[in-house]
Amino acid sequence: MAGKIIADTIETGAGANVSTSYVVNGSAKAWANINGTGTIAFSDSLNCASLTDHSSGIFTTSFTNSMNNASYSTATACNLNNAYSGDMIVDTHATGSIKTKTYYGASYAGTDVTINCHSNFGDLA
């Protein structure tokens, strides 16, 4: 690497400071924006290796740098463009991957939409 900064705190010009551990622990360690229509594909990502398309709306994203345990936290978002209620939810957490489902309607039917996002927070292996 070209350079290295070691610091315990980050301080603004106004004197407000925060421990760097807040930044390290609070940053997403893996994230992805997935286009689920047609043949699925990453729109962009960090720390992801592949996508597996299981069926409508159901994907597994594998990580390059595994998480330390399977209890990491995930935030999701998607663009359901219809009148039904729905969401993108976590199906399974594993240290090396996450399986998600985007669904709509009371039957929880999986559906393919153009934006499926997940950000994962926790410790890396």
Binding site: M1, A2, K29, A32, G38, T39, I40, A41, F42, D44, S45, L46, N47, C48, A49, S50, L51, T52, D53, H54, S55, S56, S62, T64, N65, S66, N68, N69, A70, A94, T95, G96, S97, D112, D123, L124, A125
Partner: protein
């Protein structure tokens, strides 16, 4: 651009360097496989940023590292990884061709019950194809295959 000497550098830092310095590469290759007779075929799609790392070389750990971590996670009393250092301290693999990268990814992300015996039995349970060879409609993969002769 040459890859910095990354041996001993945290894998996360290597991926951040790649994200900033390498152009993503979207491979046309896709992997179609079946790992359960009760489920439709699955399609594996490589990540463009990961593929850039594979083609560049000197960033990704050898695939056996992932197999070792998977063994640990399969233990009944697994709580968290204690051998994560394998990801960071093992000598990174060199530059791969696109085809070698796909093979690496299969061994990393497909179930080993698929890729170790993909061509045994009465028909292959895994094929590598191009994106253009896959139907663009969902019906193909979610539908039962009807035997016309029957």
């Amino acid at each position: 651009m040459n890859t910095p000497s990354f041996k001993g550098t945290h894998l996360w830092d290597r991926l951040c360097w790649a994200k900033e310095n390498l152009e993503p590469y979207q491979s046309d290759y896709r992997v179609v496989y079946e790992d359960s007779i009760d489920e439709c075929a699955k399609i594996l799609v490589p990540d463009p940023n990961w593929m850039a790392c594979a083609l560049q070389g000197g960033i990704l750990p050898p695939v056996w590292v992932y197999h070792e971590l998977a063994k640990d996670e399969a233990q009944e009393d697994f709580k968290k990884h204690t051998r994560g250092y394998l990801l960071h301290e093992t000598e990174p693999v060199g530059a791969m061709t696109e085809e070698e990268a796909i093979e690496y990814l299969i061994m990393k992300d497909c179930p080993d019950s698929v890729w170790k015996t993909y061509n045994e039995g009465n028909r292959p349970k895994m094929v590598i194809c191009t994106k253009q060879q896959l139907p663009q409609t969902r019906e193909w993969r979610n539908a039962w295959k009807i035997d016309v002769a029957a």
